[in-house]
Symmetry: C2
Subunit: 394 residues, 2 copies
């Protein structure tokens, strides 16, 4: 049921004509303005909706989110900013709230202006249609090169009440989130103070959406937003403790499920891999190595071919820019220990090959530098990725 | 005529059975020990031949180079080191020189031991066959996934004599040299002091082989070597001045030609692009941005499709990790100015498309941060790259 599963939220999805066909505009509204938080891309080229939504969310409250697919409204300068503000104003008028209570998110081609007539008409069609039954349609409408909608619901206990989190996301390409992800939307009916909601989001994203990469290209539009209606009737989460932990854990679980869905549906992806790095001096070192290995085109193509070519992992490890002693490194493909002290071990090639055919391929790199660990999820590099991206705009 | 064009050098290439078929072992010998210099990969996972050759070249002199394709002798630990030393000893015995005068270079699969019987037999077959007529065969024998041999000869005046540089290289994949390149071999008949030969090589490589990337993966085996026989009879280059400049410029020209050949023959490559960054605060900033843009899978696939999707250049620019004001950036595809102040300009889409179909695609990024510049050569990302690398070892 996606983002409308928690009480207090309604959604509508319409085909506004921004994409060539299909649903492409979503309004997701809380019944009333409520605590909200977001994290955004760290790319210096930030889309207009990122700039405006960051400004709007400074209050820690929001009423609704307007999302369009088909046009990123990035690389559009002052006109793009004006268009995003006009989108928020139009939605605010239709919903009877302040423009500052509207979060705007866009995804699609960079450098093209939003067709504002279509956006306004889409909002006009969506607001009267808002309902709890449109959660799945909303998850479909935000897709670009995604092949399937991504949504999840997580139930949890919090402050003496049963609460839930609903979430949806779109991913596919230009995926290497850094402090945020592509577009991800979370709702919860838990009552929570804005400052704690923001903290829970940052923590959840750090253990999920910030640990995925399809192609190493960080988007201009990455946005993860959460709205908390408070309709669950729980004692509001207003400080650290078991209730905060329950909320954060549920949010993390929802974000992880979306993150995994995004990577499994990465452009052209046919395999999903988890890369773990252990024994690093710092967590940042471990994460850096995991990311360089995950983004290596040679590792990704070997993964595609199911070829246990661990020499490419060794080579990526050595160029990651992290000081380390190669002679104290080990590499494992699944349970198969293929390299020790930086050199080949005797291993069963058939078992190593099998390890690359698992639904989740596990690559493990053990360093001899310290005790810090890191991980990342990634996918393979295939013909499909090339096909999708050689002519994306046409 | 490749590396045997300069006087004082002979070569031989044999099929030793290290690759599945074809020539795969080269001996390149000076008539006598002579000044020599090399630069090597900065990857922390360094192949045995890199470790041993660096040690041997500490003297600044060499007699011969032994190169094999088909096996990188990287990720092979102490056994790999012993095998490289045995290779040098065997070649030294055949040539009648000291093992320390032998440079060894290997390329091919990582993590597999050298078949030493084949290497020894290959050296035994090659040394008696040494001749000036085998320069082209040598350039062919060092190929792995290269589709064509890469070689060049540059003539220059130096110290009152006519001199020349001969060179050959192999490239194709795992190409993002850093302080060195894949395998590149230069010979010259110019007489030059070892310290100046080394300086000329470092300067030449900095403006050529260190400015290319096929896939961002820096190899474990990158090696560029130059040997100077002194057979040209010039007044030896022994200090800065016009003669040093002539040598360095000729070496740079040879290295640039090889660098361009490597990128044009990159795995699966169908297009060649030069990415220039201007207006940066430092040359390092400019180079970093050029490299991030060049390695972006989305930029590379757009290049493949001939799609003037400059938004991806903007996105790569924004995630390069270099502080800059996006609102003071301009992007040009060939002569077409597509983006100004970080936003789309009105431009002729057909002309922008045409710019991507040129034999050399020119992408230019202008920042408003300073006056430093940088550049890099790269190629597109195609099905061919995926095909070659999904099953490279099998």
């Amino acid at each position: 049921m996606s983002v409308t599963a928690p009480r207090g939220f309604r959604a509508a999805a319409v085909g506004a004509g921004i994409k060539k066909s299909g649903l492409d505009l979503v309004v997701l509204a809380a019944d009333a303005a409520c605590p909200a938080a977001a994290v955004f891309t760290t790319n210096l080229a930030q889309a207009a909706p990122v700039l405006v939504s960051r400004e709007h969310l400074a209050t820690g409250r929001a009423r609704a989110v307007v999302v369009n697919a088909g046009c990123a409204n990035a690389g559009t300068g002052p006109r793009g900013l004006a268009d995003t503000r006009a989108t928020a104003e139009h939605a605010a008028r239709a919903l009877g709230c302040a423009p500052q209570e509207i979060v705007v998110a866009s995804t699609g081609v960079i450098g093209v202006a939003l067709p504002m007539d279509k956006v306004r008409a889409g909002i006009d069609a969506a607001v009267p249609a808002l309902g709890r039954e449109h959660g799945l349609a909303a998850a479909s409408a935000i897709m670009t090169t995604d092949t399937r909608p991504k949504h999840v619901v997580v139930e949890f206990r919090c402050g003496g009440a049963q609460a839930s989190i609903g979430a949806m996301a779109k991913g596919a390409g230009m995926i290497a989130p850094n402090m945020a992800t592509m577009l991800a939307f979370f709702t919860t009916d838990a009552a929570v103070e804005p400052v704690l909601l923001r903290r829970a989001l940052v923590e959840a994203v750090g253990e999920s959406l910030n640990r995925i990469t399809v192609d190493g290209d960080t988007s201009t539009n990455d946005t993860a937003v959460v709205l908390a209606s408070g309709a669950a009737g729980n004692v509001p989460v207003s400080g650290p403790g078991a209730d905060y932990d329950a909320l954060r854990d549920a949010l993390t679980e929802a974000a992880r499920e979306l993150a995994e869905m995004i990577v499994r549906d990465g452009e052209g992806a046919s395999r999903f891999a988890e890369i773990r790095v252990e024994g690093a001096r710092t967590a940042a070192d471990a994460d850096r190595i995991a990311r360089v290995v995950a983004d290596s085109p040679l590792v990704k193509t070997a993964l595609h071919g199911g070829d246990p070519n661990w020499g490419r992992i060794l080579a990526a490890l050595g160029r990651a820019g992290v000081p380390l002693d190669i002679a104290r490194t080990d590499i494992f493909l699944g349970d198969v220990w293929v390299s020790s002290a930086g050199a080949a071990r005797e291993y069963d090639e058939a078992l190593a090959h099998q390890a690359l055919l698992q639904p989740t391929v596990r690559l493990r790199i053990r360093l001899g530098e310290g005790t810090a660990t890191g991980w990342i999820w990634t996918c393979d590099l295939s013909h499909g990725y090339v096909d999708i991206n050689a002519h994306y705009r046409s």
